[in-house]
């Protein structure tokens, strides 16, 4: 009997909370699909990397489970509140409290199991899509083969039902404490509008705004941990108190009878909005935080994705490049490995030279955005003491300037398919990373590079911003290209071997070359040898790849996979957070539509036309939906723009810093719009049902 009642109630709830069920299905599918990468990630074995993606995915799953637990808990309590009078009637009819509580738990578990089963089926499909996307990202072919991962299934079930059980245990506790009267009254409790000290609370709105402005102005300059913690606490408080201030401000505006109150339906809309955000201020604050985090996560994912699609393809222009600190190295070992792995190859060994000076280093350290004013004195001159200390200890730039002969340079250009460059005996070129070109478009005039005779200085013939593997190989950030005869006055700094492979390019060449590194005490490859500390990567930050061996065909998929370790979990978090937030908004509105039906019915009796009522519903929903989203955009906007700017500067991705923010907004507003339309249609139908 009770099983039948529970099943019937579940069917009714499924109709009322369709959006929630859909979201839980989607979340289950996402947890399953992304979770499968934790347990069965064949790519991780392929690249023989540290389990970075696993760690990131586990971390993301932890965050997601916390939020899903919150959603389930919120929904279970919400449904209990909405149906409390019904439970009160069960008790009144003589049912035991335990029986009613079990009935509710059973209903919820049925509802949860239904979403879970649908989610797993969707998840199995989604997992295949996800894996094929990852394979194509790392340039591997993947053949779809639907399969069931039992470990992933267990993890998903554990996370999902764990959250459910926690929420239901809390509910059971609540049931135990409630009496019939409390249950009957529970629904009505929130309907009372209590307006106390609104004038005082109004101050919270300008205070929140001031804090946000303050946050915007000092965000980039936050230095020590204490400052960051203080600002984060302030930000969380601001997010929550903003809604208290906003509702108080609207209430005071209505009470003071502002002019807008007397225009059309404004009074009704303003009151609806104020009372809703007043009763929901904590939820609205949480939703704002979720949106802000989702936007932040997606923006970061878009940044790395942009890097992967643009810079990475050009990052390793040579098929193979090998660094050696030994200027007499003939690279025979490397050549032997390459010969064994490939059909044929063209080898070009050359030297990078130095004049034991650091005037180009100094010029860059005082002109690049990455360094700002760090290496300038108060009067704007180079701070030589700081610069020398930096060059010796930081490992960004070689301690001395790096030079290359024109013939070597042109040969390497030819290997890359670039055109030849010419200079006279009295000139030099500055070959730099493309990302720095906008920062140093004016040729340096004060560099004093002596010509072959040593009597006069070379003049700058221009700056060439081509991709030239300048992360420590062909200089760090730059190399000065001089006529060959000038090199006679310099000494070789280190050796390089550039290789142009003919025919098929083996994907495991990087690993084969790395095996040349000596073993350390633990009988493992000496990573210090591979990531040679003498190799200086330049001013690139966020994504750097310093290795004595650079094999293009191995590295691009490997780096792509590593970037995927950030991109995939970030999108994962973003998607789930947005889905959770919009579900709460939708369910709130749809389940309130019965109450609104009465209100709109009254307005119809007061003479409002159907179109006017539809327009009001649209306005009401839009305000309710947009409020947390816009506030989240204001809060996260500054952070994202700042981080994007840093990212663009540090990595050189050819994008405007705001692009990533705009893309995230477009992505989430797509999801937002779908939920909004579903809610609007459902809401309108519920409101108009009775009137028809």
């Amino acid at each position: 009997m009770f099983a039948k009642l529970a099943f019937r109630n579940m069917k009714r709830s499924a109709k009322d909370y369709l959006v929630y069920i859909l979201t839980m299905t989607i979340i289950t599918a996402l947890i399953y699909a992304f979770g499968s990468l934790i347990f069965q990630n064949e790519l991780e074995d392929l690249f023989d990397l540290e389990p970075v993606m696993n760690a990131m995915l586990i971390l993301a799953t932890v965050f997601i489970v916390i939020i899903v637990a919150w959603l389930i808990n919120y929904m279970v309590r919400f449904m209990l509140e909405k149906r409390s009078s019904e439970f009160g009637i069960y008790l009144l009819l003589g049912m035991k409290k335990k029986t009613v509580s079990r009935l509710y738990i059973r209903e919820n578990l049925l509802l949860g199991s239904f979403s879970f089963c649908c989610g797993i089926i969707l998840g199995i499909l989604l997992q295949q899509v996800l894996v094929s996307v990852m394979y194509s990202m790392v340039r591997l072919e993947y053949h779809l083969h639907i399969m069931f991962h039992y470990k992933t299934f267990l993890m998903t079930a554990l996370c999902y039902f764990g959250c459910y059980l926690l929420a239901l245990i809390r509910c059971r506790h609540k049931f135990r404490k409630m009496n019939i009267h409390a249950l009957m009254e529970a629904r009505r409790r929130n309907e009372k509008i209590i307006e106390k000290h609104e004038k005082g609370k109004r101050i919270l709105l300008p205070l929140s705004m001031i804090f946000i402005l303050l946050f915007w102005s000092v965000f980039g300059r936050l230095g020590d941990t204490m400052e960051v913690i203080i600002f984060l606490v302030g930000l969380v408080l601001t997010i929550y108190l903003f809604y208290t201030g906003m509702s108080a401000w609207i209430i005071c505006y209505i009470r003071q009878k502002g002019n807008a109150v007397y225009k059309g339906q404004n009074l009704f809309l303003l009151r609806q909005f104020a009372s809703k955000i007043k009763t929901m201020q904590f939820t609205m604050g949480t939703l704002t935080s979720l949106f802000a985090l989702a936007l932040l996560g997606a923006s970061i994912a878009f940044m790395f994705s942009e890097y992967e699609n643009t810079i990475l393809e050009e990052k390793f222009p040579f098929d193979v490049l090998v660094y050696s600190a030994d200027t007499d190295d003939d690279f025979s070992e490397e050549k032997a490995v390459i010969n064994a792995e490939t059909a044929s190859a063209e080898y070009y060994p050359y030297h990078i030279y130095t004049d034991k000076n650091n005037q180009v280093n100094t010029w860059l350290l005082t002109h690049l955005e990455a360094w700002g004013t760090m290496y300038r004195t108060a009067d704007g001159k180079p701070d030589m003491a700081e610069i020398e200390e930096m060059l010796l200890n930081e490992g960004c730039y070689y301690p001395y300037d790096t030079y290359m002969g024109l013939s070597d340079y042109n040969h390497l250009r030819q290997m890359l398919g670039y055109g030849k460059k010419e200079i006279t005996s009295g000139e030099y070129f500055l070959q730099i990373k493309p990302r720095l070109y906008n920062e140093v478009t004016d040729a340096p005039e004060d560099l004093q590079i002596a010509d072959a005779s040593g009597n006069t200085f070379l003049s700058c013939a221009g700056i060439i911003p081509d991709y030239f593997s300048q992360d420590g190989h062909n200089g760090a950030d730059y190399v000065v290209v001089v006529p060959d005869e000038v090199l006679e006055r310099m000494s070789p700094y280190y050796s390089e071997l550039a290789v142009d492979l003919k025919g098929a390019r083996p994907v495991n060449l990087q690993n084969k070359l790395m095996e040349l590194a000596p073993e350390n005490d633990d009988m493992e490859l000496d990573m210090d040898y591979i990531n040679n500390p003498d190799l200086c990567c330049g001013s690139d930050a966020i994504i750097t790849f310093g290795s004595v061996y650079l094999a293009r065909e191995s590295l691009i998929p490997e780096v792509k996979y590593m970037l995927g370790s950030i991109i995939i979990p970030m999108f994962y978090i973003g998607l789930v957070f947005v889905c959770v937030a919009v579900t709460v908004l939708s369910v709130q509105q749809l389940s309130d539509s019965a109450k609104y039906r009465f209100r709109y019915d009254v307005l119809a009796k007061l003479g409002l036309e159907r179109n006017q009522i539809r327009c009001m519903i649209l306005k009401q929903l839009a305000a309710y939906y947009l409020c947390p989203a816009l506030f989240a955009m204001v809060i996260s906007g500054k952070m994202i723009l700042y981080v994007s700017k840093q990212f663009v500067t540090a990595t050189g991705v050819p994008a405007f810093a705001g692009t990533f923010f705009l893309k995230s907004i477009a992505l989430f507003f797509g999801i937002y719009l779908v939920y909004f339309i579903v809610t609007y249609v459902g809401f309108k139908r519920n409101v108009e049902e009775k009137r028809r």
Partner: protein, 259 residues
């Protein structure tokens, strides 16, 4: 029915059927009557007699199956849905048993909203609102929310909202149904005063003889038809009440909850 007076509102051969071809229920069956300007008319009948259906059709919130309803020269049965909304907004006021106040608005704001929906200047709206609040004796609760006031006060607020835009007709559907006897009496006295002092035309549907005794004229409905009419004239209210009870006794005591 007698066709006297100024025929402010005319209900002509109105019929309302529910159901489908195989099972038709006649809720209102060929009803005709008129309402004069400034009249306080009551419609009485047992549950299911069709009185609320009749009121809903006059209130433009339900459509007639056949017949016509004229407000002066306007036949509301011919109006489109949007035109009906406008007509309702400009010409009708409603008072219902369950008050129909908006719970998110204060008492005063409920009255202001009824005016802002019609447009109007802030100053005029405030003045009209204050005077109607004063007239109905609910000035001191103007800033309270509906849940904070008594049923009688809520109903007076509903009256104020209905009357604030000077409607042609005030429609009241069991307005005392949810009130205690004291509050019901106060409300009915308010109706009488509004009718006498402001000249408001009121049509009240009720099954309560005590409430009906405040009307100037009463139409009795049974099975969707008008079967009797009582006119108070110069009679005292208690005598009129006795007459109403006499008529009700003819119906076989179906309206047994008369006081």
């Amino acid at each position: 029915m007698a066709q006297t007076g100024n025929n402010y509102i005319r209900v002509c051969n109105v019929e309302k059927y529910y159901g489908n071809e195989s099972n038709v229920t006649k809720a209102v069956d060929n009803v005709s009557f008129h309402v004069d300007k400034g009249e306080f008319i009551g419609v009485m009948g047992a549950s299911g007699s069709g009185k609320t259906t009749l009121l809903n059709m006059m209130a433009t919130i339900d459509r007639v199956t056949a017949g016509h309803i004229y407000y002066e020269n306007t036949d509301i049965t011919e109006l489109s849905e949007n035109a009906l909304s406008e007509f309702r907004r400009k010409n009708l006021g409603f008072v219902f048993q369950d008050y129909n106040l908006l719970d998110t608005l204060t008492i005063e704001e409920n009255i202001i909203l009824a005016q802002t929906l019609q447009g109007g200047r802030k100053k005029e709206i405030n003045e009209r609102c204050s005077s109607i609040l004063r007239l109905l004796g609910i000035e001191d609760i103007r800033e309270k929310f509906p849940y904070q006031v008594s049923g009688g006060q809520k109903q007076r607020c509903a009256c104020a909202r209905a009357l604030v835009s000077n409607p042609k007709l005030l429609l009241a559907d069991e307005p005392t149904g949810a009130l205690d006897s004291k509050a019901a009496q106060t409300l009915l006295e308010t109706f009488t005063r509004l009718n006498r002092e402001l000249g408001a035309t009121i049509l009240m549907v009720t099954h309560d003889a005590f409430s009906a005794s405040y009307c100037k004229r009463i139409l009795f409905l049974k099975d969707g038809k008008i079967f009797h009419e009582l006119i108070r004239g110069e009679k005292k209210r208690n005598i009129f009440l006795q007459e109403i009870l006499d008529v009700l006794s003819l119906t076989g005591g179906e309206m047994s909850d008369v006081c």
